[in-house]
């Protein structure tokens, strides 16, 4: 079969391989462009000198002055700080609560364990719309609006995190736990000094995933905050269009500035993050 093909096309296997690689690269290019163009365009618009906005795509010179303005004349720096505070607090809290709950579900035995676990998994089915109205009414009755804790506490635990960590803990040998118990090690110490250090990759993936999710969170911060002192950066960026419709450079610089942290995490954690997502996807 291959001999026939080769005779017909007059190409050796190596030449065919090179040809196909070339075709593959050529076909990949437009799709790479499709993803990259909006981002590159945003960057270009942020460095385009103001008088060239209407005429050019590629700036005659790169004008970074709007980045200076973003950091000195807008609320974006404060909002970035707020986003960092909220996203890191949520990340740390979830790592703790999810590790503890997952430990209980995978190492300890108690009545109703499977039932409670199913109740937690079932929450994955509940869309955010079904809880957000009541949550909003609750936190505003508690006078929690415009605080950090209203942004942090509702996300202090997640079914996805518990599931992910439990999947990981189930790969541990039961003997490890038994041996530690016989040596008089309490469950708390066993979790803190043996299980957690051994789960660093899984915890890292979970952490990166939670941080990204929180950094990009939009609706809840929009509902429960209206003062710039606690507003997060996504709200700030999205509201710039209304305020500064003339200042396109400024707006596009702000978009780039708020993309840098999440894209950095993606680039540094890419492999870990993708593996973590895959493990979580085993049961959605």
């Amino acid at each position: 079969m291959t001999q026939v093909t080769r005779a017909r096309s007059g190409l050796t296997n190596k030449q065919r391989h090179i040809l196909w690689t070339g075709i593959r690269m050529l076909l990949t290019l437009p799709f790479v462009a499709l993803i990259m163009i909006p981002l590159l365009y945003t960057f270009m618009m942020s460095v385009l000198p103001a008088d060239e906005l209407y005429t050019r795509f590629w700036p005659s010179h790169f004008d970074f002055s709007s980045y200076m303005l973003v950091f000195t004349k807008t609320m974006i720096p404060r909002q970035i700080l707020n986003s960092f505070i909220v996203a890191s607090s949520v990340t740390i809290l979830q790592m703790i609560t999810c590790s503890m709950a997952a430990f209980s579900f995978s190492f300890l035995h108690f009545k109703g364990r499977n039932f409670v676990f199913m109740c937690i998994l079932a929450t994955m089915m509940v869309p955010w719309e079904a809880t957000i109205i009541s949550n909003y009414l609750t936190v505003s009755a508690w006078k929690w609006l415009n605080t950090y804790h209203v942004l942090i506490l509702p996300y202090a635990c997640s079914a996805m995190g518990i599931f992910l960590m439990r999947q990981h803990y189930l790969t541990f040998a039961k003997e490890l736990h038994e041996a530690a118990r016989l040596d008089g090690c309490s469950n708390w110490r066993f979790l803190a000094t043996i299980v957690v250090p051994l789960s660093r990759p899984a915890l890292g993936a979970l952490g990166a995933y939670i941080f990204l999710q929180q950094w990009n969170n939009y609706l809840w911060p929009l509902l429960v905050t209206n003062s710039d002192s606690v507003r997060t950066v996504q709200i700030g960026v999205a509201s710039m269009y209304d305020v500064d419709s003339e200042q396109i450079n400024l707006m596009m610089s702000a978009v780039i500035v708020c993309l840098v942290p999440s894209l950095s995490i993606f680039i540094f954690m890419q492999k870990n993050l993708i593996n973590g997502l895959m493990a979580g996807a085993v049961k959605g």
Partner: protein, 307 residues
Amino acid sequence: MSIAKAKASSPPRLKRDTRTFYERIEPWLFLLPALLVFGVFLYFPFFKTGYLSAYLTDRVGNPVKFIGFKNYTDFLTGTHSKTFWNSMWVTVRFVFFVAAGGLVMGIITSLLTEKAFPGNALASAIFAMPIAIASSAASMSFKMILHPSIGLLNKILGTSINWLNDINYTFGVICILAIWLATGINFIFISAGFRNVPADLYESASIDGANAWHKFRYITLPCISPTLFFQIIIDVINAFQTFNIVKILTLGGPMESTNTIVYSIYLDAFRNYRFGMASARSIILFLIIMIITLIQFRAEGRSVHYQ
């Protein structure tokens, strides 16, 4: 009598009795923070939403008068039915196009990066990248690209279309942005599905003289169909819950052509302060998503036998 005796002296019960009070509650202590968060911010509000949906509420969301299913009948058949069924129709079309488009993008990008070539790793990273991009930031970029006078798209096409306020285009534009954002997750899961196809199947097919199309049709497709099915469900659920891009780009317009059910819930609750009505719509949405998830669980059970 003898059975009761045997039961009473069975080892498990003896063992349980030897545990101290602390040992018995310890598992619950580990669960306490999680259960507290879920209780306060998930289970309680979920049931409260169901409760509110049967009430007429005041402007701050207090239930005022029990009205049974009137909130439901109001939008299913009554005064608000036109908006509701329009938003359902918009949502169904949106979900269809976004799930189909995301899937196609995922399959194409996965196929392109399946075999090694120079730049493969970079292309893979770029295809996965949208998972890290905030939908609000992406919406702002697209707002610029679609700007009627200075946007990139109009410059390239030489037109001056108001993409975000023209009933012929706005819906399509929103779908394209949603597909762009969904490409990352589709690429990650579908390309993993391709990688998991056993390589020896391809080898033995080559020996049997199968061509590229036969290999794709009879090996690749059956092996990745569970992955694809799973991914469709994820895409459908995500598309059902899309909110940010509608809020930032179109506000449901023009003429309600992008007024998805999620956005109409937001309007009802947080603009018109009809919390009871909004709760009722949320319950309907929950039922839809629950049915889809149950279908997924059932199908997953089947796909295990499949492999």
